[in-house]
Symmetry: C2
Subunit: 352 residues, 2 copies
């Protein structure tokens, strides 16, 4: 039996670029890997698995013969094109927000609900938001053992979560400010010294600053990213009444989201036990020895696949509650890697 | 009656420098302002209230005739010298951690417990830790109205919280990394490119990174800064059984601490009411209109006196609970300004 054909839609974007790198290092389950992007990028030559591949323009015919189509494109592009791919017989694995909360579309993190890929009446499977994904391997592992009940999360989100333009913006602002050894000491001095904010994907300066905003405005002052953490965590973990409150904050880190997690469980849990349970999870790395200066930081984990957890403490005043600091590469496990893992689950199913 | 004499001990440090600026702009309550520092800095000439003042070396005699002595020095220096100043008849206002949890030393934030300055059996008054202080004007205001019961906090702490060396370190690392438009994309690349970490006040790179550590290691994996938030909040607010859990994280911001606050109250509270109550507080500024891109960020509030609060939301799954993002200049209200305010309360008392 021939290997299935994979299409990567959005191959030239921030996540698409990481996807080609990831596909080049994953198990050899795919026959053809077809690269698809906007007509503007068609004709470009990109390397995947050591071979040059010419990018095709997005069109209905581009999906002919495709078994699995990954979408790393904006919501509105996915909303239009994932159903087109599905109608042409492909299983669409979508990394946008277009289908995540659709009850007929599974939202999958293999460590948490791999079995959900098989129930896909629309032949579309959704990949979670990167901030939610950064926590799921850790929370899913602990949930199976202790029963997650409450989650209070504060994020430290990397600029590449806003796409390639986010990283470029941070580099631009740092270049404009470097060498000034007084910057950041007077209100507004950073704002005056950085390039025009109208050109930024962020609503405030991001160099020498943190910005308590990610996504679009939803009702009652919530940012869309904060509601995604709540709604997607509930769906992935299968806990309809999970109590969640998140604050999402952008920080001047290029890639790798961090989250300060306050998690309350149904069962008693000790730090030593939690460390053992997390250490046994294949995709989780416990970095937790503060006496030796060991805890996860974005600069040390970026570009790698696992989810890292450290600073595990028992909350002193909250029963059955752990404090943790979790880091995950938002372009890899937070996006491309998880999408690749979902696609591989489908490939295995197709291989029967 | 002549105005009281003020001594500033640690006048040449990061907080001391801001203190001289603050004293130059505060109400004219002081007679002599005497500047004191380590023998190494003695003889330096600093400007305060538009006048040149020669720095004196720290000695018992330096406190002769002093009515109020502020200490902006390390814990061990305060532990030794604040009692010396008190024995010579001065009221010591100490910004170190040496006396904060001493039951015979009041820990004061004027917005919360101004009256506590009068009960000072050791003639020492303590100024809180900068991270705790960043939240107190907001939490104290809400506590009086709604009764604070629980606090879950995640901090975004500026490098100058680690003193002048912290800011210098961030500038050094940014200078070393600026212009490299790939930095922060491979694990360890930031670590390799920055100056020797042995020379840093931080345990990991701080440019293009966040570091989940502040202070020294205490039992069960807690950082001292996290326990200070718990213990000092309880003492300042007078809530012995306040439930607190904090995670402290250093971010590449020069000055101004931010905190993502999840606060649960005894009484029901709406966002509209909370905004009204906070807007009426003289030292709090509400910046909370996300539709217009209005929320506090360190770059916009550094160098100013108020505590800023925005992103006020009602937690969707937690009764009587608000989410907020709070910013305060860690060198001003977080340190020097609050110390100056305490000293002025004492000056008013001495004036009878």
């Amino acid at each position: 039996m021939s290997k299935p054909t994979l299409a990567v839609v959005g191959a030239t974007g921030a996540v698409g670029t990481v996807m080609l790198d990831i596909l080049s290092g994953r198990p050899d389950v795919w026959g053809e890997i077809r690269l698809i992007a906007s007509p503007r990028s068609a004709g470009k030559v990109l390397r995947v698995r050591g071979e040059d591949v010419v990018v095709r323009a997005l069109s209905p015919e581009a999906f002919d013969g495709v078994d699995v189509a990954m979408f790393d494109v904006p919501d509105e592009v996915s909303a239009e094109w994932a159903p087109v791919a599905a109608a042409r017989g492909a299983v669409a694995v979508d990394n946008s927000g277009a289908f995540r909360m659709d009850p007929q579309v599974p939202l999958v993190v293999p460590e948490c609900n791999a079995e959900a890929v098989r129930e896909r009446p629309k032949n579309i499977i959704a990949n979670p938001n990167c901030t939610t994904l950064s926590m799921m391997a850790v929370l899913g592992t602990l949930h199976r053992r202790y029963g997650l009940r409450e989650l209070v999360a504060a994020s430290y989100q990397a600029v590449s979560g806003a796409g390639a333009a986010g990283a470029e913006r941070l580099y631009d602002e740092v270049a404009a400010l470097a060498g000034d050894r007084t910057v950041g000491t007077v209100a507004g001095d950073v704002r005056k010294a950085v390039p025009d904010l109208a050109d930024s994907p962020f609503p405030a300066p991001i160099a020498f600053n943190v910005v308590p905003w990610a996504g679009s405005l939803k009702e009652d002052g919530w940012a869309s990213e904060e509601l995604k953490v709540r709604n997607e965590s509930r769906k992935i973990l299968g806990i309809a009444d999970l109590k969640v409150s998140a604050t999402c904050v952008r920080v001047p880190v290029v890639t790798t989201h961090s989250v300060a997690v306050h998690a309350t469980f149904a069962e008693p849990v000790t730090v030593a036990e939690a460390r053992d349970v997390l250490s046994a999870a294949p995709t989780v790395v416990v970095l937790d020895d503060p006496a030796a200066g060991v805890y996860p930081t974005p600069a040390d984990v970026v570009g790698t696949d696992p989810t890292y957890v450290g600073r595990i403490r028992q909350a002193l005043d909250f029963p059955n509650t752990l404090e943790m600091f979790v880091c995950g590469d938002n372009l890899r496990k937070g996006a491309a890697l998880n999408t690749a893992e979902i696609a591989e689950l489908v490939a295995a199913e197709l291989a029967g």
